[in-house]
């Protein structure tokens, strides 16, 4: 089974289908409301939260400004501590590194720490094509993998599933790929977790190679950091002999001390916890302790493209907390799949076009998948002004069509509106000619408006006509 987002329709089409799924709507509304409440409580109790956000953003900005130097230092530190560093320009190069390491060791399976970047590059599918099984060990990723499904949230990839659905997936699929779920499996969370634990334990003890990402890569000490809740990540990071970590180049943090604000911002923003249960850090190879062969793949895959965008580069501050997804009213209603990417929600709506570039209809639909309500910016722990970047990317999408031989109706409408709005007199004339309200209604796309919404009754005269007639002295 190969499941990818390739070939997804543009957002409005995908959203329409998702909106019709009432179970999905219910699951998402419940889950996002719960996590929003938890986050709000633990953020409110931090007195200097705004200063902490500024500090976190400043660390990431410093890292990005000197990215070239920090990355070289990271490579030196890692190498000095016994790790092998690889540089990958794109997904194929990164996947090839992992495949070669696996083949050199003759393994036909790897265990995986939950990681966004390996989803981004389609590593599981690339390994599968070489006959190597990649087992997801994060509980939610396991649910997604067993269900033949796609992740729909950065932190909680199975957020679109409820516990009854998860029980069915475990019953149906666990036995096909390892230890089967017990026959009397119920949908109690503790029972489901115990079944996953027993299923995964076999894989942890058997696997000779693990693959991870990293939340942070510290340049001065050559340390990778993984933050998690379950401890399954730590199993992968400590038990197998070989460990390959794929790390986006924007994950670099210049110094160990600068992890401080980021490690405080992340758990409160993501899971709504004061501190995450497991923080694993490792620097290269420690003889006799943990993996004895450690590889780090430093991945670009569009990140330098994003960095070159002077408005959009702030998106590279993202620490993948998902706070913006949980507060987004659009995400809450349509879910993650509609975004057609492993990075859904508000951050996905900017990150995908920044990493891939604009020009593809699906990618180009993402900056428009927002009302610009600003809830994401308010929640972002590293102050990414997502609405600002969305508007900026919309202008890139529009600019990409300026040379079209046949302009889109929207472009024609905007040009004519700009002409009308360039003179007060033109607007007065236009209002008289088209009938007040009708022109505005038509410009709004009346049928898509009136499918579910009444239009207000057109007034007998415009404000400017009333003003001219009465000098604003009489009631209209």
């Amino acid at each position: 089974m190969t499941h990818t987002f390739v070939g997804m329709p543009p957002f409005p089409t995908a959203a329409r289908a998702a909106l019709a799924d009432t179970q999905l709507r219910h699951n998402l509304a419940h889950a996002t409301a719960t996590i929003r409440g938890k986050r709000a409580r633990v953020v409110d109790e931090v007195e200097n939260w705004e200063e902490l956000r500024l500090a976190g953003a400043a660390v990431k900005d410093r890292a990005l400004r000197g990215l070239d130097e920090h990355l070289v230092q990271l490579e030196e530190s890692l190498t000095a501590r016994g790790a092998t560093v690889h540089w990958a320009r794109d997904a194929d190069e990164a996947n090839q590194v992992v495949i070669e390491v696996a083949q050199r060791h003759g393994v036909d399976e790897v265990v995986k720490v939950k990681s966004m970047v390996t989803q981004e590059i389609g590593l599981n599918e690339a390994l599968q094509a070489e006959g190597i099984a990649a087992w997801e060990t994060d509980l939610a990723e396991l649910i997604v993998q067993l269900g033949g499904d796609l992740p729909s949230h950065i932190l909680v990839p199975a957020i679109h599933r409820n516990r009854a659905e998860i029980r069915d997936i475990f019953r149906r699929r666990m036995g096909e790929v390892g230890r089967a779920a017990p026959a009397d499996l119920t949908d109690e969370p503790a029972v489901l977790a115990a079944a996953a634990r027993a299923h995964l334990r076999e894989k942890f003890l058997r696997a000779r190679m693990a693959v991870s990402g990293a939340n942070f890569a510290v340049a001065d000490t050559g340390t990778l950091v993984v933050v998690e809740s379950e401890g399954n990540g730590r199993m992968c990071l400590t038990l197998p002999e070989v460990l390959v970590s794929v790390v986006g180049i924007e994950k670099v943090v210049p110094s160990w001390a600068e992890l401080d604000p980021l490690l405080r911002l992340l758990p409160r923003s993501s899971t709504g916890e004061r501190m995450n249960p497991y923080t694993s850090t490792w620097s290269g190879v420690t003889p006799g302790d943990g993996p004895q062969e450690v590889h780090v793949v430093l991945l670009d895959n569009g990140r330098t493209r994003a960095l070159a965008d002077d408005v959009g580069r702030q998106a590279l501050r993202c620490i993948r907390c998902s706070a913006c997804l949980n507060v987004c009213p659009v995400y809450e209603r349509v879910g993650g799949h509609a975004y057609g990417s492993v990075y859904p929600g508000p951050i996905g709506a900017i990150l995908n076009p920044l990493l891939k570039g604009t020009g593809d209809p699906q990618t180009d639909s993402l900056p428009y998948a927002s009302t610009l309500c600003g809830a994401c910016f308010e929640a972002c722990p590293v102050l990414i002004d997502i609405p600002e970047v969305l508007v900026h990317l919309r202008s890139k999408v529009v600019d990409g069509h300026r040379e079209d031989r046949v302009p889109k109706p929207e472009a024609v409408a905007m040009k004519s509106a700009a002409w009308t709005f360039s003179r007060g007199g033109r607007l007065r004339l236009a209002e008289r000619l088209t009938g007040v309200g009708v022109g505005v209604g038509r410009r709004l796309g009346a049928s898509r408006w009136t499918s579910a919404r009444d239009l207000p009754k057109a007034p007998p005269e415009s404000f400017r006509a009333w003003w001219r007639r009465t000098d604003g002295r009489l009631d209209p």
Partner: protein, 241 residues
């Protein structure tokens, strides 16, 4: 600044602002050269098209002490987006003009509370009302509790809390038609919360959001009408509303 939507669709709101401000002793003018704040172009990505509209704006409003508008969204556009449009134009003169007009632009409740220093504007409105804080008022401008303080000082008015008030209604300008299904899903939830309050009137500081929520309420025969905040603040004992 009346705004293009109010000019064409909701002239009563503009008239209410004129009446309210004159009652409070403000010398009000409506420069007829004004058209639109250019937000529809900017937010849809048409920055080049926004340039002449912003130019029209700064020409129309040059020389006034304060530019007051009954729209959080349009005030937000003037204050936060005009600079970007001017930069795009490469016209230093336009950048200077924008630097003069943007900081003098106020959303109505900011002008009333911060500049005039009033919350009791002498209004009378004997109805059960619930207030929706529109996103750009709330998060872009940070108007905070100014609208609520103004409403609390309206005689006869009973203000009831709107559940999930701070969640977007789903209008979002061209989002309402580009992503009509999602927009309607969001608006339906907002309309449901409005109905739950038992209010007769839903009030907000942006007619475009009210047009969306009101359109859903009206289609659902909800029996709740929508009104711009300015119209409530302009109402007095003499009105038979």
């Amino acid at each position: 600044m009346v705004t293009c939507v109010n000019d064409a669709m909701f002239p009563g709101t503009g008239a209410a602002v004129v009446r309210l401000l004159r009652r409070l002793g403000v010398d009000v003018d409506f420069p007829e050269a004004q058209t639109c704040c250019a937000q529809p172009m900017v937010n849809t990505g048409y920055l080049d098209e926004a340039v002449p509209v912003v130019r029209t704006f700064v020409d129309a409003f040059e020389g006034y002490d304060a530019i007051v508008t009954p729209s959080g969204s349009c005030a937000g556009s003037v204050r936060h987006q005009h600079r970007l449009v001017a930069q795009r134009s490469g016209d230093a003169g336009l950048e200077r003009a924008v630097a003069a007009t943007s900081p003098r632009t106020y959303e109505l409740t900011e002008f009333l509370v911060d500049v005039l220093g009033v919350t009791d504007v002498g209004a009378y409105f004997p109805h059960r009302v619930t207030y929706h804080p529109t996103c750009h008022s709330l998060r872009m401008l940070g108007v905070g509790d100014r609208p609520r303080r103004l409403l609390e000082d309206v005689r006869g008015l009973r203000l009831v809390d709107l559940p999930h008030a701070e969640e977007c209604c789903g209008f979002g300008g061209t989002f309402a038609v580009k992503n009509a299904d999602t927009s309607i899903a969001m608006g339906s939830d907002k309309a449901r919360h409005v109905r739950e309050t038992g209010a007769e009137v839903l009030v907000a500081g942006d007619n475009s959001c009210l047009m969306h929520i009101g359109g859903l309420l009206s289609r659902g025969r909800a029996g709740v009408r929508v009104m711009h905040l300015a119209e409530i603040l302009a109402s007095t004992e003499g009105d038979a509303r």
